[in-house]
Symmetry: C2
Subunit: 259 residues, 2 copies
């Protein structure tokens, strides 16, 4: 009887896996990876293969979801199997479905955690973890769902920060950008252009960009390659203000209602 370990790749490249993940992958009989639930901007599959000493089969969304991850399930029934996933495993519902399926077949599964944007965003911005409210995904399709604006307003009313995940565009293997996401909200929420927001690109990579300013200025910035995300801060503590000014380029005139 085999097993399946979900190994998180973290944020930037193949060096984001933990030592525990590396050891498990080296011990495995078969290795798979998926890169469609998120972007790992500097990952190189050949380097990852050299690191773990074996070939990796990259699976598409269709292979993993529509065929119920058939190849992975078959592999996990027979031998020690690993599946590399962007960020920390199980944030995507697909992985949860696969884990449930594996369990029903009586196969052991485990999760080897890695860094995720949901905690790394605190380090990058200096915003405090316990001050984030419900997060939101900005979908690629238009119009913007009402729930996006309701959640954002609700968090702001409570003084809470909001992390916006930007949708993957399946056709192009691309992702919404900071300016696209902000423009969509701006056209639906009067006055939003004068709020403070933070644009984040390639968090955890050497060319990470984290920039805080008013929405109308942020929309004009070029953040480069994906993945991008956005934070709309609520009420700011003085130390949060200091980090936004020190590390994220915020000016006093950007702070407005947040301070």
């Amino acid at each position: 009887m085999g097993s399946l370990s979900f190994i998180g790749l973290g944020l930037n490249d193949e060096k984001g896996i933990s030592i525990e993940g590396l050891e498990e992958a080296r011990r495995a009989d078969l290795a798979f990876a998926e890169f469609y639930t998120n972007t790992v901007p500097n990952l190189n599959i050949e380097r990852l293969e050299r690191l773990i000493g074996k070939k990796i089969t990259v699976v598409t969304r269709t292979q993993l979801e529509d065929e119920s991850g058939k190849d992975i399930v078959t592999a996990a029934e027979k031998g020690r199997t690993v599946l590399f996933v962007p960020g920390d495993p199980m944030v995507a519902t697909t992985h949860v479905s696969l884990r449930l399926l594996i369990h029903k077949k009586g196969i052991d599964s485990r999760i080897i955690h890695a860094s995720s944007i949901t905690s790394a965003i605190c380090g990058a911005t200096g915003l405090q973890s316990y001050k984030f409210g419900k997060s939101i995904t900005i979908p690629n399709s238009l119009p913007l769902p009402n729930s996006v604006l309701t959640t954002l307003t609700d968090n702001l009313d409570r003084g809470l920060h909001t992390l916006l995940f930007l949708d993957i565009i399946p056709s192009s293997n691309n992702q919404l950008t900071v300016d696209q996401a902000l423009t969509r909200i701006q056209s639906a929420k009067p006055g939003f252009e004068n709020r403070l927001a933070i644009g984040v690109a390639r968090l955890g990579s050497p060319d990470e960009i984290v920039k805080a300013s008013k929405v109308r200025k942020l929309i004009k910035e070029d953040f480069g390659r994906p993945p991008h995300s956005v934070v709309v801060p609520g009420k700011l503590h003085f130390m949060e203000i200091e980090t936004l000014k020190t590390f994220c380029g915020a000016l006093d005139s950007d702070l407005g209602d947040n301070s």
Copy 2:
């Protein structure tokens, strides 16, 4: 001129650091670690020293905060310096203060991320990331602050899940337990004993415990060594219910208002 890298240790032991963190620590001139902002239950400092090929100076809260991290700042002024911290760096305000201090002295700093309870909790419970509201710390001191109950009620009214961090008890180098935290809330919030809650212990370790049931039953469970944490779920999606039943021992009779 030197530099300071904050390296996340992740959740369980020294194998929670990323390959990037390992390489940076091996290149460093001096290495420090702090273990007072959280517990890394199976970490062994000698094993970590062997892994990175150098001695590690463990700093106390007093050394890091009251003396403004003097030794670390001096080391970082001169050479390549690393500071190991539990979980993902910068979730604790102490690290933010130190990073600001380092920056004011013109010293480069960076963050090497690792797994954190804030994302790993999704994998462990199957609860979806975007359905968590503001998180709360249950303090060691009594009485329970009003803000704890207000936030919990606010999240529940919105159908959101709440992650409860349990305070470190500085005197004993220990941490509040699942039953202590639940008992404190129960005595302040009528009807809480019949709600569904999830107790979590040593997340990411081989002897991890994740147990979902009604508060009154959960209070009687022994979760063993720290660190512990608690989730109070809001409205549950059918797949969340399935994972709680499959992986966390929840019974239909535990679900009550959540389903």
